[in-house]
């Protein structure tokens, strides 16, 4: 089970109403390498990964939900009081027709989130290598969003999230090293 802390992992501030930026940010909400995919991928893989790294997947998967919440807050604030005309001008006309101002799990192009974005192969090395790739892809996505965004407050939060991807990638690499070790064998080669 989880305990919920009623605050964000890192503060989210938005300097101006900018539905266009929200449209790009939604990639990290319901996109293939977004935070939802990450959280569900790790929390699901953890059951069939060796005991030594279960806790790592548990903790990182949990943190991904905290990131998801930050992205949601950004998207919400960026679009909160935008008029239908402003949303349409930002390319969110179709989104407005289907969802009003509600958030939805889809990517920047509007494709709904799908479980085919994630995998659980049951092979520990295969799963961890997928996780490493996912972290690097999420890092890259944050870079490209920062490149497009001129909102200094949003960029501050996005740089925090990008840094977390780096730390997570580091931990997954270490998990692979743990599983590679010749643990219970006398080392005579």
């Amino acid at each position: 089970m989880w305990y919920y802390e009623k605050k964000l992992q890192y503060p989210v501030k938005v300097s101006q109403c900018n539905p266009m930026l929200a449209k790009y940010l939604i990639e990290q909400y319901g996109g293939a390498d977004g935070e939802l995919s990450a959280a569900l991928r790790y929390l699901n893989q953890r059951y069939t990964i060796p005991d030594k790294v279960v806790g790592l997947l548990n903790d990182i998967g949990t943190e991904e939900f905290a990131h998801l919440e930050m992205i949601a807050t950004m998207v919400y604030k960026l679009t909160k009081d935008a008029t239908p005309e402003q949303l349409e001008a930002a390319g969110l006309g179709a989104h407005f027709v289907n969802h009003d101002h509600a958030l939805f799990y889809h990517n920047a192009a509007g494709s709904p989130w799908t479980a085919t974005y994630i995998q659980a192969k049951g092979d520990p090395i295969a799963d961890l290598y997928e996780d490493i790739a996912a972290e690097e892809k999420a890092r890259a996505t944050y870079q490209w969003i920062i490149d497009l965004s001129d909102d200094p407050f949003i960029n501050d939060s996005l740089k925090f999230l990008r840094e977390r991807e780096i730390v997570h990638s580091q931990r997954f690499h270490e998990a692979v090293e743990i599983l590679k070790e010749e643990r219970d064998r006398k080392k005579i080669f």
Binding site: Y10, R139, A140, Y142, Q143, I146, D147, K159, F160, L161, R162, E163, R164, I166, V167, S169, Q170, H173, E174, E177
Partner: protein, 72 residues
């Protein structure tokens, strides 16, 4: 350990390229690529506040990201 967080290269520029060519292209090589297994007692930021601000407890793993268009 000595390493850089960005690597750059100069791509081939064709005389027929329609867009204004970018002469130098750069990509991120974050610090985790160089750490292998994190050693014990790696130096930490002096305050929790700074660690939160950076997004990591360890200065080694901190990678400030600068806009791509500012790098070239």
């Amino acid at each position: 350990m000595n390493f850089t967080l960005v690597k750059c290269y100069t791509p081939y520029i064709s005389p027929l390229d329609p867009c204004k060519p970018i002469l130098k292209k750069c990509y991120s090589t974050p610090p985790n690529l160089y750490l292998n297994f994190q050693p014990t007692n790696l130096e930490q930021y002096p305050t929790a506040r700074e660690a939160l601000f950076r997004g990591t407890l360890w200065p080694f793993l901190y990678d400030p990201y600068y806009l791509k268009r500012e790098e070239a």
